[in-house]
Symmetry: D2
Subunit: 161 residues, 4 copies
């Protein structure tokens, strides 16, 4: 079993820019996070442009789809912003790639105290190896089908819908 | 789907005692870790005596078995020391409980920089919900059957064997 | 010797709001930070409204001045945003209170990886106890007089000027 | 003003060895800690053998003394184990070097959650630049003369004595 991990940005990978005084994107944290996870399963990391998911356009989703289609690995974890996981999931789901694709992300950036990022990545890497082919959202310790998930923006959690 | 999480100690849960100047066990980190994970799946935490797994005796393993047997949840994650996961796995595996039981732990304590604990817990909580009933060790981003795993103490990783 | 610590906000005390998805102000981190410092010197914490220093108005600076004037302790550390330390320093310096007042802050919020906040607080608490009365800015491991300091916004450091 | 920072080990600099499963010494954390502090004051780092201070012998203290004597900087911060700060302080104090020498350390290693190490280093770097020549212990947000300090091992704090 081997994994592909696609970095596309989102809250998970935000970085505090001390000169600008705000959160944005710099180098992805994923290389350090993967090293920290001590994964011995082969995990190919592919970095796409890092974006806030509210700014993702159709072309960005098509690029994610192209990477999934081209992936030699049939188990894929996508690090994604939480606000449009469902939209990207729909693009990937409709393509019926015959792979197990897990969208995950974080409510708090990896580099900020009390972040859920590392937990979510572990969770996603687990279910990517065990679920049948399909497109899923994995957040809050739960797996959702891409067509039955919504982010509850008031509570800050994912739920069926 | 709901989960039971059994805390039994191990490196994952070690705590630095600043008066004694060494690592030992205090209050379990698991309540804070579970809160941090933002799990919305129901997760019942059960704390057994926190032990270094090298000090686990038969009676301790029987207590873990009793908790698994009594568990109303059929998906169980056990936080365990890395040195004797296989021995506990054997006790649980031979009992044929018809539940999905995942042994996990950490190479670096949760409270120490660069710890794999949170990743491993996420991974274990994922595969506990997706694997068929059986007893497994989940470490290094991989799932092993309880009777085909060993810790490579030189490299500090788990491998088949 | 005893200290007064005034929390006024700034980058030091910013908090990531996971629902809003941005940095702002919540409860001050100072109570936790002071506990972590294990200070045995008596340190009275006084929390003023937490503000981004770019949004500080004259009335806000007068409130800081009033707190310094009323302080029973003659050694005062002010946690302040980095962008207008000099302006607040001028208000305090011109008041000639006969106390040792140290303005400090952080380039990276306390709760974000690699933050300088804890170092700066330690530094400030040290020089607050040892410098003669006056108003100072303490950043980057250096002490500056309030009337001879500027923030180099390109480099993100403080320097004389 | 410029500083010399001497790394001699102690709790501050302990590192968790995941293969051995215990705390010991590896590469010093000081280069990373100094970078994190964003000090612009010139700080020369000198690494001596990293030791638990309970294992420091006379020869080790003489080496610390030799480094202080040879230091081109007259402000020196020594990162030291907490258990024998007083003994090293006595060797340095009796040598009457005419420099400002600050012994500091930590109750919790830098790499463990809730560590006081970064606060203590900031505190020490502050008072090293402001105190008259002499040998001091700086812990718990307080400065002690080398001949009037003791570690209260039950409470885990420093006090006069």
């Amino acid at each position: 079993m081997s994994l592909r991990i696609l970095a596309t940005g989102g809250t998970f990978d935000k970085h505090y820019d001390e000169i600008a005084g705000k959160l944005g994107f710099g180098d992805s944290h994923l290389p350090a996070v993967i090293a920290r996870s001590r994964m011995t399963v082969k995990a190919a990391l592919e970095q796409l442009p890092l974006l806030d998911s509210l700014e993702m356009q159709d072309a960005d989703r098509q690029r994610v789809l192209a990477s999934c289609r081209a992936s030699a690995e049939s188990a894929i974890v996508i690090i994604h912003g939480t606000d449009t996981m469902r939209e990207t999931g729909e693009v990937l789901g409709n393509a019926k790639l015959g792979k197990t694709i897990i969208l995950t992300g974080a409510m708090i950036p990896y580099e900020i105290a009390n972040s859920d990022a590392l937990f979510n990545l572990g969770f996603a890497c687990g279910v990517a190896q065990t679920l049948p082919s399909g497109v899923y959202v994995a957040m809050n310790g739960q797996v959702f089908g891409w067509d039955n998930v919504q982010k509850n923006r008031v509570a800050g959690v994912f739920q069926p819908g």
